[in-house]
Amino acid sequence: MNPELMLQLDRVIHEKGRLAIMSLLAASPELSFTELRDTLNMTDGNLTTHIRTLQEAGYVSVTKSYFNKRPLTTCALTPAGRKAFAEYVSMLEKIVQQTRKLPVK
């Protein structure tokens, strides 16, 4: 297998928690902070840190609004985030495919 592929994996997405957040957001136009937190069983602080990292990378946009007079924070993938996620998954698939092609010794 070409070790270069492993090095090409996006470090921002590569972290387990952030990959989970990106995966959930990739399947939904937007998700609230509480939906993400409950689905992933993360603490508020942990989720906030990961979202901030993704936001700084330009992968996630955060919208703050009000729902029934209560604050509502929703997260969504940006076009850059969607592209980065697709590339990450594509790279994983390449790793799997390349190793499967190796001859059995």
Partner: protein
């Protein structure tokens, strides 16, 4: 590879494959040539490290634990080390593949979970069950026997049930500080929209047109089928056996349809038909709601 610009000689770095596998004229391996060739390459510093090419590993049988093809102990030790490196690289590659495959599976699971409708369904199903049973008893007590009255009454029951169910769902969303009209909710609504609209349209037809009581079977069977289709479609975005319930409604509709056609209309084509509707729609929902109450909290917390 890196080209040395000072002496214009090609200089290869890292691990490179040997140029060829030397054989004698009779087809046997010429091991002395291997050593000579390696010594030549090293002496001329064309390469810094020599190892058998991947193809040669197979050809020369280096996978055996005893490396017998090289006479020189020095070379044997050297190639054994390279073989260990090769094995490590293959194991490492296998681990990476396993890891990558697991990552893909995790991503797939999370994406599916994200698309799922997560509101608790037990209260909704139980509410629909009680309302259905109560409506059945009410229709029977009111002796609503006309096809138009029957259709209008049960469409009203359906509308009230839907409105209360939406209020329950909205309350759940409010308590969880989540938006009510979330993407999964929209997907479920889109999935059930067509079959439910077809059911409503057919019901309206029974209200405005002059149907006979014996033709009510068309309406009941169609409602059962449409409702089953709606639940089955919604089940692709929900958990907890919704699709199974859809199949039960659809099969019930088909069974009644077959019975109606083969044996003629049943002799309950008066206000007793409401008891049948209440037991059918209400009873099934109530049973499903009880099943959810017994299992849902366990699954949500899992």
């Amino acid at each position: 590879m890196k080209r040395n610009t000072q002496n214009s000689k090609l200089k290869l770095r890292n691990l490179v494959a040997a140029t060829h596998t030397p054989f004698r004229a009779d087809g046997s391996l010429n091991l002395s040539a291997v050593e000579k060739q390696a010594a030549h390459l090293l002496a001329n510093r064309t390469v810094e490290t020599i190892a058998p090419a991947p193809g040669q590993i197979g050809i020369l049988g280096l996978d055996s634990t005893n490396l017998v093809i090289f006479q020189s102990n020095q070379w044997k030790s050297f190639f054994q080390k390279q073989l260990a490196v090769s094995r490590f690289a293959r194991q490492s590659a296998a681990m990476n593949t396993e890891w990558a495959a697991e990552q893909i599976q995790t991503i797939r699971t999370l994406m599916e979970r994200s698309a799922l409708y997560r509101r608790a369904l037990a209260p909704v199903a139980t509410l629909a069950g009680f309302l259905g049973l109560a409506a059945g008893a009410g229709g029977w007590a009111l002796e609503l026997g006309q096809p138009a009255g029957f259709a209008g009454y049960w469409m009203g029951v359906g509308a009230v049930t839907l409105a209360l169910a939406l209020l329950l769902v909205r309350r759940q969303a409010f308590r969880a500080a989540e938006p009510f009209w979330s993407p999964p909710t929209r997907r479920v609504a889109q999935a059930v929209a067509l079959p439910l609209a077809a059911g409503v349209a057919l019901g309206l037809l029974f209200i405005i047109a002059d149907f006979k009581a014996s033709q009510l079977g068309i309406l009941i069977i169609s409602w059962l089928l449409f409702y089953g289709f709606a639940l089955n479609a919604a089940g692709f975005f929900m958990r907890r056996g919704i699709r199974l319930l859809g199949w039960i409604f659809t099969l019930a509709g088909l069974a009644i349809g077959y019975y109606w056609v083969l044996h003629g209309p049943p002799n309950i084509l008066d206000h007793r038909l409401h008891l049948f509707m209440g037991a059918g729609f209400g009873g099934l929902h109530l049973a499903y709601g009880i099943y959810l109450y017994l299992t849902e909290s366990k699954e949500i917390s899992a």
